[in-house]
Amino acid sequence: MENLQLVLPEIFLSLSIMFLLILGVFKKNSSRLVQSLSLAVLIVTAVITFNETIGINETKLFNNSIIIDYLSSLMKIITLLAAFLVLTISSNYLKTFQIFKIEYPILILSSVLGMMVMINSNDLIVFYMGLELQSLALYVLATFNRDEIKSSEAGLKYFVLSALSSGLLLYGCSLIYGFSGSTNFNVIADQLNSNEYVLTFGIVFILVGLAFKISAVPFHMWAPDVYEGSPTSVTLFFTMVPKIAALTVFIRFLYVPFLNLIDQWQMILIFLSIASMLFGAIAAIGQTNLKRLVAYSSIGHVGYALAGVAAGTNDGIQSSVIYITIYILMNLGLFSCLLMLKRDNNYYEKIDDLSGLSKNHPMLALSLLIILFSLAGIPPLAGFFAKFYVFKAVIEQSMYFLAIVGLLSTVVAAFYYLRLIKIMYFDEQKEKYDTDHGFWLKFSLTASTLLILIYFIFPSQLIEVVSRINII
């Protein structure tokens, strides 16, 4: 029990959630207070995580069911910061729809707690518990605008499909437990040599479940509908935060117990990656709704992140962590722009609503231009480096097919990013949008744009941060 301070972030977060719930119930009109306190809780948790766990060596707690190492600490901090930014920039949106309620920040905190448990997990049961905690909170968040029929539909759809995938995942867990006699990752790894084939089935089922959570093709069907129907601020949360946790579990699950079965799962991952990259690029072309377009683009980006995981090396893992970090940054900027397309208490989310943006709002259009070129992976913006590291890791393993398909699909994807730029810059202008955005919205847009733009001047820093990730 002397290592209890290592799980202090989780303990602190869960106590805060309970406290905030009670506060929200007993104090009337406390949504603003709860929101501010939640922000503080996220920051404090991030600080605690940084202080207590970032420097320590790999430690396992609670009968080896929880692992604290550099990867988990880093991913938790990224999750917390991403959640913090989501929460700050969503308040204006929520107020517009009069859904600025205490439940919103608390649900976000709960799902973050679930993700932290997922990231920490070194055991199938713990992992499943975290996964369900975050999913339950996400179902409710998707329906948060409950008077809107699309939002309810999104939540229901997400719930049904997610429950199905959880079932598959659980079935995979039970298969693995049945044949290895344990749910602990390390014990499974020790038992591995004898009965490989049966375990492969378990891996496949769990991968299906995880691919669903991270919306990789062919388990992506829910993403466009849910992203479109959910309130935009929740969509922002969906596209960023759960992916971090899911990616970590992907890495941990594949590399700790099943590294020896790499021949089996590498093919699956390559397939998921190629399918996601290609499908994301091609399907996005026909979209007219910005949120649906972002959904397809995020499917594509998940494909690139998985390509790094598929490489099967530390380099690959590091590159996919870099990828997801830069992706989050770009997505944050993109959604900040989306949340600025507001006129008379109405948010606009059709592609045509961007028309002529560069004439009415030159700075907003310029930021979006930089973000979109970065998403398309054009140098010297950050998105290029993200892809560069991933493909470097992939080519080092001589997986040329994956690299070439991936890079060709960036060309296809460039088409729809260019189309947005074309609409902003080459088309006729429409009415102006409001300009009185909150401080945090402007801050997150400016900060993410600048970071994307000047990343090429200091590319080493991010590499240094992730270079300490050492799984194998």
């Binding site: 290029f384 560069f388 070439i404 060709l408 960036t410 260019l418 730029i421 074309k422 080459f426 090429f456």
Partner: protein, 494 residues
């Protein structure tokens, strides 16, 4: 020499652009904006002249080399020039200020954004020509797409959207394979430093595929037949200054890339694929010349003539003869000056009549004589009349080609005749003949800035036509060393 002159050349236009960005921008400020841009690019030009003076042409070593750690343990920022690259830097810094002067007449709205795009473009292009690391090269090579896409798309003509997309996607598609090749080279040799790669050589097993990957990128950018179709569209729709940048400098990136990377890094593969290049070049020369002959749009005609001229360039490069490569470089410089001037000439009449169709014009020699004289000079330079820089380049290329492959050289020489035909016919139809269209009478002759720009381009065209020594002296040693290296590596099969 501690002063980082090359980095200054790269950074200075960007700083100018940043400055322009912050001095926004009602109608009155456009004026100041233009002078800021002009000043920056002029300073850059004089800086590059200074670089040329300091440059030592008696060695083929890279000079003014700067090296800094960029991505730790992975890539170093490394720039330097040798005889091959320095002329392209000069060309870039020379053409950009002229482009900026020319916007006076053609760009009416969003002027300061246009100037920002042009300046950033200049930064990237200088970066391409002096980077000594493959990743840095790729970075600059690709980054140029962004400003060019915007230049075509925002300030272009009626079909600008189609052209901008075509330009962007074609070039991007070509380049991604080069990125795969660059990463593969890193994986094979543990470095992307060009100098080290020159010394160590690249595994012969991989050379063919790597060469093809680089080729896919350069062929699109050159552009070589059959992937040239983006060029006429881009040229026709781009504003005058954009066409000038595109023709004068962007196309040269690929020719430079062929010399620096295809010949330098993959000699064995280059030897194998020389017939391919010859075939494509000859087709480009003959076929696109015929296409040019039938064009009704002046800009399109010049665009196709660019494809033909670049055909000579690729032909000259892969002769692997001293004369051939020297001729290619001089041809590129000359084409940079001449095609820029021709596009500006088209721009001049377009600004007045808003038509690029040849049959709009005819008989304008008596109305705008100054224009007609300068236009004639550049027409003759484009068809390679002795006494213009175009002749020196074509002559050397054909000389190199005759040494290497008689048949190819004969066919390519025939291209010169068709070249003369379409250029002279263009000139005849536009300038001479009867004055039928009476609207033309309202045309006024060149104004001061137009006269200035065209004279600026005419002087080096004639000077290097009569006295190409300064150019040849600069590149001679570098090229002969490159060829020695090439033959040595070929003999030892690495």
């Amino acid at each position: 020499m501690n002063f980082p002159i090359l980095s200054s050349l790269i950074l200075l236009p960007s700083i100018g652009a940043l400055f322009l960005f912050f001095t926004k921008s009602d109608k009155k400020n456009n004026f100041t904006g233009k002078y800021v841009a002009l000043f920056t690019s002029a300073v850059n030009f004089f800086l590059s002249i200074y670089l040329w003076i300091l440059f030592d042409p008696t060695t083929s070593e890279f000079q003014f080399v700067e090296e800094r750690i960029w991505i730790k343990d992975l890539i170093n920022y490394k720039v330097g020039v040798d005889g091959i690259s320095i002329l392209f830097i000069l060309l870039t810094t020379f053409i950009t200020p002229l482009c900026i002067v020319s916007v006076n007449n053609s760009i009416k709205e969003r002027l300061s954004e246009f100037l920002i795009a042009v300046l950033i473009m200049e930064s990237f292009m200088i970066g391409v020509f002096c980077s000594l690391d493959l990743v840095i090269f790729y970075l600059f090579f690709e980054a140029g797409l962004i400003p060019m896409f915007l230049i075509i798309g925002i300030w272009g003509g009626a079909r600008r959207v189609y052209s901008a997309f075509k330009f962007f996607l074609y070039t991007l598609l070509g380049s991604v394979l080069m990125l795969v090749a660059i990463i593969t080279i890193y994986w094979l040799n543990g470095t992307t430093d060009v100098v080290e790669l020159y010394n160590s050589g690249i595994d012969i097993k991989y050379q063919n595929l790597l060469w093809l990957a680089f080729f896919s990128s350069f062929a699109v950018k050159t552009p070589m037949w059959p992937v040239h179709t983006w060029l006429p569209d881009a040229h026709v729709e781009a504003p005058t200054a954009g066409s000038v940048l595109l023709a004068a400098i962007l196309l040269k990136m690929a020719g430079y890339g062929f010399i620096r990377f295809s010949l330098g890094l993959f000699p064995v593969a280059s030897e194998i694929f020389t017939p391919l290049i010859y075939t494509l070049s000859v087709i480009a020369i003959i076929f696109t010349s015929f296409i040019a002959l039938m064009q009704e749009d002046m800009k399109k005609l010049i665009a196709y003539s660019s494809v033909a001229h670049m055909g000579y360039v690729t032909l000259g490069i892969f002769t692997i003869q001293q004369q051939g490569i020297e001729g290619s470089i001089i041809q590129m410089i000359s084409h940079g000056l001449v095609s820029a001037a021709l596009f500006l000439c088209v721009g001049v009449v377009y600004d007045r009549m808003h038509s690029r169709l040849i049959n709009t014009y005819g008989g304008i020699v008596s109305i705008i004589p100054k224009y007609s004289i300068l236009f004639m000079l550049f027409t003759l330079a484009a068809l390679g009349l002795p006494g213009t820089s175009g002749f020196v380049g074509e002559f050397l290329i054909l000389m190199g080609a005759f040494k290497d492959n008689f048949l190819v050289a004969v066919i390519a020489s025939l291209g010169v005749i068709i070249g003369a035909a379409y250029m002279l016919w263009l000139y005849k139809r536009v300038v001479f003949g009867k004055l039928i269209n009476t609207d033309l009478k309202q045309m006024f002759d060149l104004n001061r800035s137009e006269l200035f720009i065209l004279s600026c381009l005419a002087v080096p065209t004639l000077f290097f036509g009569f006295y190409p020594d300064p150019l040849i002296n600069t590149i001679e040693v570098s090229i002969s060393d490159l060829i020695d290296q090439y033959n040595f590596k070929l003999a030892s099969k690495t």
